[in-house]
Symmetry: none
Subunit: 241 residues, 2 copies
């Protein structure tokens, strides 16, 4: 279970950090990552952790979400609301199954929880491969932060102790850093072929990221994609000269 990270982004209330540590420990999770917490450490954090002090002691603090998830192969955003922008969505059960499977392949998964008030920003959302939508009352979907953590840790624990899924014989997946390099090259390439106007980018790159985040390519596929981009860029450069 050490291959699953819980990431809290810009948490305002210290009590929620403590309650998150407690929720994690009750379900056997241990790796807590905090992106710019407003108050940490603090007495209220420790009080609400109610004995899960070891989770707090080993928690890491990061300056940005991208830094916090750079070593993760699978990054899940979380929400109890449906977003209007299209993004690949999974249920908590589906995510738990995927995470347990990826764990068995030695890949790290992160579950990212946004601010209490406003969730994740669009920029942060783009760092996520998928969104976990926690089913909730459409008229009152305001889940407490630590309660959302508790639900997802519970689903993961339930799947972990349940029937173990056989590991798929897949090549190692690429990391978020790899995908960032791919997106940068893709954007550059689209500019060079005249498909993307850098002065009027509209939502093209966000749409393409949403599309490729569904692919979750293995290393082989990743190399093919980058090779295609390089071939296009070579042709585009030749046309100019």
């Amino acid at each position: 279970m050490n291959l699953i990270s819980i990431v809290l982004v810009r948490t305002t209330h210290p009590g929620n950090i403590g309650a998150t540590a407690r929720a994690m420990k009750t379900m056997g999770l241990a790796d807590l990552r905090l992106v710019v917490p407003k108050v940490f450490p603090a007495a209220e954090v420790t009080a609400r952790a109610a004995g899960a002090d070891d989770i707090l002691d080993t928690a890491s603090v990061y300056k940005s979400l991208s830094e916090a998830v750079s070593d993760c192969a699978l990054v899940y955003g979380t929400t109890a609301r449906m977003r209007s922008i299209p993004w690949p969505c999974v249920s908590p059960e589906q995510a738990a199954g995927q995470i347990i499977r990826s764990m068995s392949e030695g890949r790290r998964a992160a579950l990212v929880f946004g601010r209490e008030s406003s969730g994740l920003s669009n920029r942060e959302l783009e760092l996520c491969n998928r969104m976990i939508v926690i089913p909730s009352n459409p008229d009152f979907s305001s889940l407490n932060l630590a309660a959302a953590v508790q639900i997802l840790c519970y689903e993961i624990h339930k799947h972990a102790i349940g029937d173990v899924l056989p590991a798929a014989d897949k090549l190692p997946a690429v990391t978020m850093e790899d995908m960032d390099r791919f997106y940068a090259q893709l954007e550059q390439c689209l500019i060079e072929i005249g498909f993307l106007d850098p002065d009027r980018p509209r939502r093209l790159m966000r749409r393409l990221k949403s599309l490729f985040s569904r692919v979750d390519p293995d290393q082989n596929e990743y190399n093919i994609l980058r090779g295609i981009l390089a071939a296009v860029q070579e042709i585009a450069g030749r046309g100019d000269g």
Copy 2:
């Protein structure tokens, strides 16, 4: 969902009553019953309810558990620890299934949560038909009271709605014929940029089909992909001329 009651027995911390109301409302439950709460009502209860005030306003207070569950057909105790005394035990999922079924027969079910410190007494336990055992870390099963309520309300809500993802407002997906046209254009394009040698195609197209079949693009994304290919082909043609 009005046929499901959440019963808190001798709750010590007022914050837990508020957090319980919030947890219930996020999952569409409404009937809260309090057996001898230490502090109720209170400002802290309302603060932690975070907008679930209607649950608090209609909550009833009882002098004993037997009084609180007198109109219930099914009474579940709850614990995150295995008890040494023998009692019929079910998982949260099993309980949720039973409760949804009993609801459809017009029978009221109660979920009973004991004291923060010591759970339910043996006398209270005897008023329960069954125990719900929430799976947890055997070395740290100290679930927060409202977190336990959240998990069980989540399981009930999930069973009630059938674990379907809320419908994303996705554009119509493309057909297999559309994808065939896309693959033909992709292959042609890869030949034109010199990435694919038609005399030694190896497995490249099969790999790319496997990759894009995972994308399952909507009409909008499909148009973007074909537009990119067209732009590449135009550049490639220009280089030749």
